[in-house]
Amino acid sequence: MLINAVILFLRDALPVLVLISILAAIIYRHSDSTLWLTKGLALGLLGLIIQASFINPISDWFDGFGFEMITTLSHLLVYCALLGFILCRNENRMKLAVVIVALLITTSGTNVYIYLNGFWSDPHALDALLVGTALGLGISLSLAVLLYYALRSELIDSVPQLPMIVLSLAAARQVTEAVYFLIQADWLQASTPLWNTSAILSDSSEFGHLFNALTGYEASPSTIQVVFHLIALGSPLLLIYKTRHVNLKEVTS
């Protein structure tokens, strides 16, 4: 039970905290306000309560794939909002950050809620559940804080686009996750895995979880997952290149 809770937090909370830490590191360059985070968390909690309240009927939608479909939609919305975040500046960027945080908390929070709610009433599981939750949350928070300070370090100043590139990797992960759920629901057709790197980096290992959170790493992806991932990664990278090009022109003219 203890290790299950730790793994659950690594899988569900780590990607959320990693993405929030990247957003925070980028926003901090222009503003030290944390209002976007507070608003996002509040809206996310509200969304979580609403979704958790209707989780059983939702799960029955689409022939039993309702929860996956809601999650897929959420991932795609987060991806679109992240593209907007890369394009926009200051105020609009803050608004999009609120939307992103709210969607992330609603989706991943519901997964955690399902697990905790299922075992909360079991007195034999409670101690392990609490310790596991604390450990999982602690590890995830520590990694997210480390990433936040790494992206704010002076070394990054020599590569100012790096936080945005890291954000693009995390954005592409959103699409990879959406495609994963669509394959699972048979809405998209998967081929046999294109490759299998389980022997080098297993999905179930700690680094596997971390790389998944950062980049959407899958040890044995299908062709369609790879194609969508490359398109999803290429789009924000192209936006970063174009906006940098425009900014340079503005500076020189």
């Binding site: 699972q184 048979d186 809405w187 998967a190 999905d203 194609v227």
Partner: protein, 112 residues
């Protein structure tokens, strides 16, 4: 070129919603029944999983690259495959010590 690639991929990928072989699995007392499933190679298969327990369970498999929450007293479906012959292990993420199983994919090499 990229546009063509996307269109071809989408066309190839959109499922024809053809009838898939269905295999039913039950979860009782945090155990999968049957815990060993045989499926043909290179075939997409529909797993219908019913959770008879009072707690949720998550069907999880790193080998199959699948995870899905099965709510208490409810059924859910997962599509797996097409798979190469071999053994693909799965487990219940909320009760991994007891809920364990394997999908055995039979091909020409390991058919009975």
């Amino acid at each position: 070129m990229l546009k063509r690639l996307v269109i071809v991929t989408l066309l190839l990928s959109l499922s024809a919603w053809a009838e898939r072989p269905v295999i039913e699995i039950e979860i009782r007392n945090h155990l999968f029944f049957p815990a060993e499933i045989e499926v043909p190679s290179n075939t997409k298969v529909k797993l219908k999983i019913t959770n008879y327990d009072n707690t949720p369970e998550e069907f999880d498999s790193f080998d199959l690259n699948r995870e899905k929450v099965i709510f208490p007293k409810r059924s859910a479906t997962i599509f797996i495959g097409p798979l190469s012959p071999g053994h693909y292990y799965f487990f219940g993420e909320y009760n991994p010590n007891s809920a364990q199983g394997v999908v055995i994919v039979k091909g020409a090499d390991n058919a009975d």
